[in-house]
Symmetry: C2
Subunit: 373 residues, 2 copies
């Protein structure tokens, strides 16, 4: 049955699961590559399949503005439009709209904003977000929420009332039975607000729960504390989605704390800046030290890029601003994260996820995070 979530194994808080969607089952925990404008940048759908991607994310705000959600609906929906017959997830547009800090005005009914493309005025309400997401037709859609600054208690508390009212309006507005509407737990870094948000949304009996408002400025211990607080509160038989998180160490730490779904532009964005994820941390191929380096990007990797090309060649492509640089580094970075998730799933099945995580986090050195932005 669609949207059923089955727990196949548990290892501590880490969960191995299977989530049914109208476009096939998903094995969790998983990482979803981001296709903001209905394409994962520099990848063809067949490349993503070959890499083992299962769920893709697309952005409602971008597709609403261009090419338009009604156009995509009339062309058969987002799956057909972008040539992806596997499961898709759309966000609500909220995060993007709130990020337009100088070009939006929030009220209790919704948000008025200016397009980043042409400055034209638009308005999103919970009902409008759901209507756009129904036109797009992803398998999983998200409630329209406010994403407040995570450490301003008074702001977060007031924002939570609005987000919860919007959650009820999204649920009331939803009409398609072939889409699952996920709730988004907000509450910043505050235990009482996170708990209140979780309890409110659990009462709505939604098919999945996202953790929003993290990876936006709080510390890692604060992020972990929120996940540890929510783990026993959220229903065990519903998938849990940590939005916008994709650094390797955060994936590992999220899985250890019960998260099933992740998405992030990190692997694809840093690829286009010349950076590669490797077990030793992260390297930037733009650096002169790689100019004569005949080794592959990652000697431990068997992706297409590492099997065929040297660091010296990829550095040349990066310096020469060649599209193939983006193709090869995106291939490698997605392979790195998708293989990591595969390894985590295997470790959960074997009951060794704690050891696997310790080993990984010991080798994976966090550095050069300025490249993310």
């Amino acid at each position: 049955m669609s949207f059923e979530f089955t727990l196949l194994a548990q290892d501590g808080a880490a969960r191995l699961g299977r989530f049914e969607t109208p476009h096939g089952p998903l094995e969790t925990p998983l990482f979803a590559p981001v296709g903001t404008q209905a394409t994962v940048k520099a990848m063809r759908p067949r490349d993503l399949r070959e890499l083992g991607a299962s769920l893709l994310l697309a952005n409602t705000y971008h597709l609403y503005l261009r090419p338009g959600d009604e156009r995509i609906r009339d062309l058969g929906g987002l799956h057909r439009f972008m040539g992806w017959d596997g499961p898709l997830l759309t966000d609500s547009g909220g995060f993007q709209v709130f990020s337009l800090s100088d070009a939006r005005r929030i009220d209790d009914d919704g948000v008025t904003f200016k397009s980043h493309l042409d400055g034209s005025a638009h308005r999103f309400t919970p009902e409008q977000s759901i209507a756009v997401q129904e036109n797009l037709g992803a398998d999983v859609i998200m409630m329209f929420d406010e994403c407040p600054p995570p450490t301003d208690y008074e702001y977060v508390r007031r924002s939570l009332g609005r987000t919860h009212a919007w959650a009820e309006r999204c649920l009331a507005a939803k009409t398609r039975p072939d889409q699952a509407l996920f709730g988004i737990v907000q509450g910043g870094v505050f235990r009482d607000l996170r708990e209140a948000s979780a309890r409110f949304l659990i009462d709505l009996d939604l098919p999945g729960y996202a953790v929003g408002g993290l990876a936006v400025g709080e510390t890692k211990p604060e992020m972990h504390a929120v996940l540890e607080l929510l783990h026993p509160l959220l229903p065990g038989d519903k998938p849990r989605y940590l939005m916008g998180v994709g650094a390797p160490e955060d994936l590992v730490n999220g899985v250890l704390r019960g998260i099933d779904l992740f998405d992030c532009v990190l692997p694809t964005r840093i690829a286009r800046n010349g950076a590669a994820l490797v077990l030793g941390g992260r390297i930037n191929l733009r650096n002169a030290q790689y100019a004569d380096d005949p080794r592959p990007v990652d000697v431990a990797c068997d992706c297409y890029a590492c099997a065929h090309f040297s660091r010296a060649y990829i550095r040349h492509l990066v310096k020469a601003d060649e599209i193939l640089a983006s193709i090869l580094l995106t291939t490698h970075n997605l392979h790195f994260l998708l293989r990591l998730m595969d390894d985590l799933r295997k470790a959960i099945r074997k009951g060794t996820v704690g050891e696997y995580a310790s080993e990984f986090l010991t080798h994976y050195e966090i550095r050069d995070t300025r490249l993310d932005h």
Copy 2:
């Protein structure tokens, strides 16, 4: 034996041939995609193989400047560097250097020029061009020639003396037995000069002959007249290469006049401008008329792009400046030309190339050529 050229069939002036190289045999007539900076833009080597590309071209001028020919030599040569184990051809750098009209000075010994990358001063002589091409290590290398304005008789006549002297110096400088040095017939649109140039180079007994200085401003009848003049003059057992030509109608007309090899940036460059080659002529996906068009780019095509995506989707990608637009349109355009060459080879074998060419040229409408540049 390497560089042996075997004529398998003839149909009028059109030739079906097999050209042996150290990296495998080539079936001619063929079109070689251009990988200026050691990559055919937006394509991986495996994509090119899948499309049926056999010979690739790379540019000596660009690779000399970046990443440097000695670096490529030290990394194992151009084949290994770019991950292409099939045949490669490098030009001499002459055409690019002469195109730097404000940043170069020609004398009888060579050309001094300024890098387009950083303005630094460099000098190419025939010996230097051969040395760079030997470092790169392509299967076919080209003599260093001057490419004069094709319709200025006096200039072309004087330039020819220099080009012929340089041809002898290139031949004397060449040391690698695993590379074939092709001569380049110059002479603009002038019958006496073309004939003199052909006879001079034939006396040098080279393994192949290029026709240079065409597709640079002369009319189509002038181009055809040069090819028809050279056809009976050039030795039948050596491959003939029409440099820088790749418009579909020019490929067909070149094959009808005995040409075996072609190269051009046209299919890849127009792809990055949003244009697709189709049997009806050429279409630009940027145009608003395709915004809601559910048909593939070319209904008669079975390439990956046409099998999976609509004109509406590709237009969206073009407008959104997505890398996938370049990938899909490059795939389609190369498929179009490589299939055309395959069809021409089959028609020569069957003795029906005249009919095939008439049929093709009737359907293929030449329009919107501003997109080439």
